[in-house]
Amino acid sequence: MSVLTMPAQPDQDTAPRPVPWRRMAWITWRQQRATLIAVPAVLAAVAVFLVIFGLKAHHDYAALVNCPLNQGQQSSACAELFRTFNSTDWPLANACSILIGLAPVLIGAFAGAPLLARELENGTYRFAWTQGLVRERQAIAKLALLGLTLVVLAGAFGELFSWFFQPFLWTEQMNRLTDGVFDSSGIVFPAFTLAAFAIGAFLGMLLRRVIPALAATLGVYLAIRLAEWGVRKYYPVAVVTSNTKIFGQFETPSVPGYPWILSTWVTGPGGKPASQSVANQILNGPGPGAGTSVASGAGAPSAGGSVPPGYTEWNRWIPLSHYWPMQFIEAGWLLVLAVALMAGTVWLVRHRAA
C-alpha cells in the first residue's frame, strides 16, 4: 500500500481568531440538517393550512361585519351567519390557537435539546472537542446560527397566525392583549421560541442526555409561561381613569374587544374608599351594563350607570394602544433570559470535564 504525503506546511498563526462564520454555518447546517429541514417543513405545512382556512374565515367574517354583535339586535340572516361561524370556523380556530401556544416549546425543545446533548450521549464530542476550533466557539456559533434561524421562522409564522386569527378577535370578544393572543403575535412569539430553544440547549448541556433534556424543557417552559401570565399585569403600562364611558358595551369591528381591566374600585365623597355594600351596588347592581369582571383577561364592560353623586368608579386598566410597549417589555425579558441561558450553556461547555 502506498501512502501519499505532501510536504509539511509551515506553522500557521495560532493566535485566537474570530469565529469563522461561514465555516461554522456549513458545519451547523450539515450537523443539524434534519432539524433545519423538518422545522420549516412542518411550519410550512401548517402555514398552508392556516392560509386556506384563514381565507375562508376572512370571507365569512366579511359577511358578518355589518351585523351587530348583540344577539338581541340581530336579524335572522345575521343570526344564521353567526351560528355557522361559531360552529364551524371558531372551534377549529380555537384548537389552532391552543396548538400555537405549544409551538414555541416544541420547536425550541426539538431543536435545542439535542444540539449539544446528542454529541455527549453518543460520544462524538470526543471528535468535535479536539479539533482546532475550540469547543466554546463551536457552541456559540451553533447557538447563534440556529437561534437566529428559529427567530426568523417563528416571526414569520407568528405574523401569519395573527392574520389568521384576526376575525375571531371581534366575534369572540378578545383583543390583542388577551392571554393566548398576545403571546402568539408580534415579537413575543419569536421571543418565546428563542427562550425555549435556549432552555433546551442549556438543559441538554446540563443533563447530557437528549430525552430527559426534552422533558425538562417542556416542564421549565410551562413554568415560565405560567409565571409570565401572572406577571404581565404588573408591567408598568397601566393607566387609571375614572371615565368609564370609554368602555363601550359592544365594540365595533374597527376596535375589537375591550381593553384589559386589571382592577376596579369605588371612592366616595372626599376620595375615601366606599363601603363594600355601596361598591357592590354600584359595580354589580342592576342598571345598564351591569357586571364587572375583576382581574380577568378578556375584560367586560364596567358599570355604566347608577353612580350616585359624590362617588366615583375607578378602573386600573391597560389600553389597547399600549400593546407594543407591553410586547417590548415581555420580549425584552425573554431575550435577556435566552441570552443568559446561552451564556450559561457556553460556560458549561467550557468547564464541563468530559
Binding site: M6, R30, R126, T130, A354
Partner: protein, 305 residues
C-alpha cells in the same frame, strides 16, 4: 521540545482515582506506546493530554508548554478516541469537509487520496462502514490535520492483522516524513515492540515506566541462577520480578547502564520489551524512576543510583 509534559497529574471520578501522581515527559520525535491493563488509566491520561478532560490535580501541557486544551494545543494535537467516533449520519466526504472547517490546517488532497487508496467510498454514511474502515477514516482525518502530536486510543482494536500492519506503516511514514510524534495505546505489546521507541506503562492508576525503549532494554537484564543463592543476590540488586523454581530462579533486575558482571553460576540475558512490560505489570509498587537521559530536564533533587 517535549510533546507531552505532566506534573503529578491525577484524575478522580467520584471517590476513586483513575490516575494518580503521574509525572512524565515525552520528548518529540518518538512513537510512544502506552500499555497497561484495562482500567489502568490509559484513556484517562490520553483524554487529559488531548484537552478533553480537565485534571483533578496536577498539570498537563503539550507541544512545548501549552496547556492541554488551549487553542495552540488543540491546533497541533490530533486525537482519535477509543472506537474511533465518527458521525454515523455523515458520509466520509462530509467528515472531510467538517474536519477541514474545524481546523486551520487540513490537507484535503492527502485525505482524499488516502481514502481512495484504502477503498473507503466518500459518499457512504460513516455509520455504515465497517469497524476497521471507521478506524482508518478517523486516522486519515487526524493525519490530514498535519498535527505535531498524534494521540491514538487503542486504534488497532478493530483492525485485522493485515490492516494493523498497514495502519502502523501509515503512522510510521507520517512520523518519518512530517516529523509527527505519536502516542498510541494498545494491549498488543509484541506488535508495538517493532515500532515503538518510547514506552509508558500504567498499572492501577499509577505510572510504572516512562522511558525510551533503548534505555529500558539496556538497563534491565534477566539473571538466571541457582535458587539457593537467589535471595542473597537479589538483595544486592533492584529486582523487578522474581520467578522461583525448584532448582533455578529467574530475576528480572534493573541493572542500570553500567551493569556489573554476573557472579559465577549466574547467566545474564538481554530482555525483550514484552518481558519487561509484563514484569512491571505483575509487580505493582516497583516503578521505574525517571531515568536521567540527555533529552530530559534534570530534576532538582534527584539522587543518582
Amino acid at each position: 521540545m517535549n510533546v507531552i509534559e505532566t506534573c503529578e497529574l491525577g484524575k478522580r471520578y467520584g471517590k476513586s482515582w483513575a490516575l494518580r501522581d503521574c509525572t512524565l515527559t515525552l520528548p518529540a520525535g518518538h512513537l510512544a506506546a502506552l500499555v497497561g491493563p484495562n482500567g489502568a488509566g490509559k484513556s484517562t491520561l490520553m483524554n487529559m493530554a488531548a484537552g478533553l478532560t480537565a485534571p483533578t490535580s496536577g498539570t498537563v501541557t503539550g507541544l512545548g508548554g501549552h496547556p492541554a486544551g488551549s487553542p495552540a494545543a488543540l491546533n497541533g494535537v490530533a486525537f482519535v478516541a477509543q472506537d474511533a467516533p465518527v458521525y454515523r449520519n455523515l458520509s466520509a466526504g462530509d467528515m472531510l469537509h467538517l474536519t477541514r472547517n474545524l481546523n486551520q490546517r487540513f490537507d484535503t488532497a492527502f485525505a482524499r487520496a488516502r481514502l481512495a487508496d484504502l477503498g473507503i467510498p466518500l459518499n457512504k454514511k460513516a455509520g455504515k462502514l465497517s469497524g476497521g474502515q471507521q478506524s482508518q477514516l478517523a486516522l486519515t482525518l487526524a493525519l490530514a490535520r498535519r498535527p505535531r502530536l498524534l494521540i491514538l486510543d487503542e486504534p488497532l482494536a478493530a483492525l485485522d492483522p493485515l490492516a494493523r500492519q498497514d495502519f502502523l506503516a501509515a503512522v510510521m511514514t507520517a512520523m518519518a516524513d512530517d516529523g509527527v510524534s505519536v502516542l498510541l495505546s494498545s494491549h498488543q505489546v509484541a506488535e508495538l515492540e517493532r515500532v515503538a521507541d518510547f514506552l509508558i506503562v500504567l498499572s492501577r492508576a499509577q505510572l510504572q515506566v516512562a522511558s525510551e525503549v533503548d534505555d529500558l532494554l539496556a538497563g534491565h537484564r534477566l539473571l538466571t541462577g541457582p535458587t539457593g543463592e537467589a535471595d542473597e543476590y537479589a538483595g544486592r540488586l533492584t529486582v523487578v520480578q522474581t520467578r522461583r523454581g525448584d532448582a533455578q530462579t529467574h530475576l528480572l533486575a534493573r541493572t542500570g547502564e553500567t551493569a556489573a558482571p554476573a557472579p559465577p553460576g549466574w547467566e545474564s540475558h538481554q530482555v525483550s520489551l514484552e518481558e519487561v512490560v509484563m514484569a512491571y505489570l505483575r509487580s505493582p509498587g516497583v516503578s521505574e524512576p525517571a531515568p536521567l537521559t540527555r533529552l530530559q530536564r534534570p530534576q532538582p533533587t534527584e539522587a543518582t543510583r
